[in-house]
């Protein structure tokens, strides 16, 4: 992945976004709304002023983590559809630990709660990694199943053990010292985004500069060659899935400790799944996860204000998001398809 590749990929994504917005405009117009009003609200809602920007950042933060989690697993050739479940166990674990440690100094409390959330996500990631390494169970199937289990289990745990005495199924509010501090006072932008960017930097180093990352890439791109090169394919598979799970777990931790200040069952609007789209757009680069997450965060926050001030249903924005995914993912899927075809024709042609 040279710089040139990154730049052309970026240009391609920009064109895809413009195209999606263009088709979105046609749809909005056809539905009888004013395109100008819609898009000016979208833009202002996403980037116009401190409040809008803050909303965009808040909406991007969980996507940054889940996108990073999925993108990292991609490097090992693994498709982690389980970020959603990992996010739930991370969120609940962090909330519970942050509450339980209220005797400790705040900094320590926050760090340990984050670590616990990451650990819980990693533990959940271990399962599909292990099943893949030992019996070849496909991670897409196992992670989807684990999503159901994780979401139901966290809900049950809240109801059975950690419930706030009030009328709603949720944990009690975190005391201020157990929360991720606000980064910009008066907004909900917390230190979480900084943690996210640090995570990106760290995983970028791992992928591009470490023996572990090198081996993970080798396993992801050609497990036979990795094995030939003395790489323990099974161990790397498990580790990659655990790291991915840890990062997705952090998405939940940061949501619980920095935005919601508690754990609420079913709080996620599908961050784990949108993270897949973020990762597809980011491609092979960890850093590219940041703009990709911001793109979706902005569509989300801008879409909300479009709904609020121009009365345009959110569904239209969801559709634009879908189009972005479609256009950006098309070449990836295309080359995957082409790759398969090339391979099969090589096989047919024998050696030559």
């Amino acid at each position: 992945m040279g710089l040139r590749g990154d730049v052309s990929r970026f240009a391609y994504s920009a064109v895809a976004v413009l195209l999606a917005l263009l088709i979105g405009a046609v749809l909005i117009g056809a539905s009888g709304y004013s395109v100008k009003e819609a898009y000016s609200n979208l833009l202002v809602g996403a980037f116009g002023g401190v409040y809008s920007l803050a909303t965009t950042v808040v909406m991007s933060t969980p996507l940054l983590f889940t996108g990073l989690a999925v993108a990292f697993a991609f490097q090992c050739g693994l498709f982690n559809v389980g970020a959603e479940g990992q996010l739930y166990v991370g969120a609940l674990t962090s909330a519970v630990v942050a509450l339980a440690l209220s005797g400790l100094p705040p900094a320590l409390r926050v760090i340990m709660a984050l670590a616990a959330g990451a650990g819980a996500g990693a533990a959940l990631g271990f399962v599909p990694g292990y099943l893949k390494a030992k019996i070849g169970a496909h991670e897409v199937i196992t992670t989807i199943m684990l999503n159901y289990i994780a979401i139901s289990l966290t809900t049950f745990m809240v109801k059975a053990y950690f419930r706030d005495p009030g009328p709603v199924d949720q944990t009690v509010l975190l005391p201020p010292g157990s929360r991720l501090p606000e980064l910009v006072p008066g907004t909900r932008v917390s230190l979480g985004i900084v943690v996210g960017i640090l995570a990106v930097a760290l995983l970028d180093r791992v992928i591009r500069g470490s023996v572990l990352g090198y081996e993970i890439q080798a396993v992801g791109r050609n497990p036979h060659a990795a094995e030939y090169g003395g790489v323990n394919v099974r161990a790397r598979t498990i580790q990659a899935m655990m790291i991915s799970g840890a990062v997705a777990g952090l998405a939940g931790s940061v949501e619980a400790m920095g935005t919601l200040y508690r754990f609420i069952p079913y709080f996620s609007p599908g961050y784990g799944f949108t993270g897949i789209a973020v990762a597809v757009i980011a491609g092979q680069s960890m850093w590219a996860v940041i703009p990709a997450a911001v793109l979706f965060g902005a569509l989300q926050s801008g879409g909300q204000s479009m709904q609020l001030f121009a009365g345009i249903p959110m569904e239209l924005m969801t559709m634009v998001q879908g189009l972005v995914i479609l256009f950006v993912a098309a070449p990836t899927l295309g080359s995957m398809f082409l790759g398969l075809r090339l391979r099969s024709s090589e096989k047919g042609g024998g050696r030559a």
Binding site: Q217, A218, R221, G230
Partner: protein, 504 residues
Amino acid sequence: MYAVRMENITKCFGNVVANDGVRFAALPGEIHCLLGENGAGKSTLMRILFGLYRADSGSIYVNEQLANIAGPRDAISLGIGMVHQHFMLAERLTVAENIVAGCEPRRNGLLDYDRARRQIREVSERYGLAVDPNAVIEEISVGQQQRVEIIKALMRGARVLILDEPTAVLTPPEVDELFAVMRALRESGTTIVFITHKLKETMEISDRVTVLRDGKTIGTIDTSDATPDSLVEMMVGRSLPVHDDQRMPPGEVVLLELKDVSVAGRKGSRARLDGVSLAVRSGEVLGIAGVDGNGQLELEEVVTGLRRPSKGRIMLIGKDVTGLDTGRIKDRGVAYIPSDRLKRGMVDSLSLARNSVLGVHRCADFSRRGALLENAVREHAQTIVAKYDVRAESIDQPMGSLSGGNQQKMLVGRELARPHSIVIAAQPTRGLDVGATHYIREQILSSRNTGKAVLLISAELDEVLELSDRIAVIYEGRIVDVRPASQFTERELGLLMTGQRNEV
């Protein structure tokens, strides 16, 4: 009078000049070899003749008439047929269906398959092209598929038959059969253009040779006036040095030993390897001769830890390594050139630099406390590129973007750069051009000359003969004979390889 004549053919793809003012002319009823390294422009020239590409300039004469060939249909109607490097058959249809596709014989508007089958039988009997018209393509061997392509061309009235590297996909006995067919066709007056980059085949089968290099015609000569050396010089533009024979005498120390090793077959079928015992000493090359598919792959996998033997022991430098994985075995001093370089030997989407340390990336030279030493890795890649003359734009380009020969040089360079006392070389020059082949063989010999033990597994009999000190013949998973190379004749080896033990 020539059957076909091409004058001043030029063809560019973007800024690649594939053919640059090429002249080519074939006489009626001759086997004319079109010789050249990979990328010399042979396929392009013949695709122009067959109407698949349009030349940018130049003219084509068929029977000395200026021909305007705008597509394969024109070529076919002028009596030109072509068998491509990659076959163009419908996998799920039968032989007969494939042959008649596009020129179906009809009776009362319906397909007349009986007539088609009859015609196919006729042609196949006349030239010794045995195929079953009712067999489904995907179930017959590559050699048979090739025959189908040939019959197809002949049934469309080909008087000039182009065969694009037909031997690349064949086993040695199949090559002999093909050559017999080609001779029969020549008898009947068919002109054959035989594309190859193999000297031995050229010398054996052709009447005349035209050599292409870098898209230009170097010359056309009678095969009887050519020697392998003169042809090499025409092909690569320089003569290749003779292998340097400064060598240590073979030692007595056994570095690699197999003791009664077997690999069970699938349930009910015979063992893939059956009680194989071999010993390779320091300073010698032990070559495994055999027709592909007689246990070579299993042998390779078993000695390198990619597969566990069902019986027997494998010893490296006196230590039992049976059951260790590939990484551990290589760490005990094995350089391993795998037969399937794309599958095993490299990660094609990673850079040359990254690939240059695959398998040694954990050494102290290339990593410290879990971090890759980027500069050391790059330097290592540069060294291999320079020393092995790898043609690459940069060490940052993906391995998959190199040509096969350059990939293989990179891979051989990497393996021979790691600390080792044993070399396992499986099909080390498969699919490579003459220059790269020669270079890699030289490297293997120089490894031997410095006292390494080399196990060479190759389907190319020439290669085994050229490099080996001793030869072991493998047939149906058994070693049927081991002797010093000088004690075998080629004929003997051929018979042993095909299981005709008693006739030796």
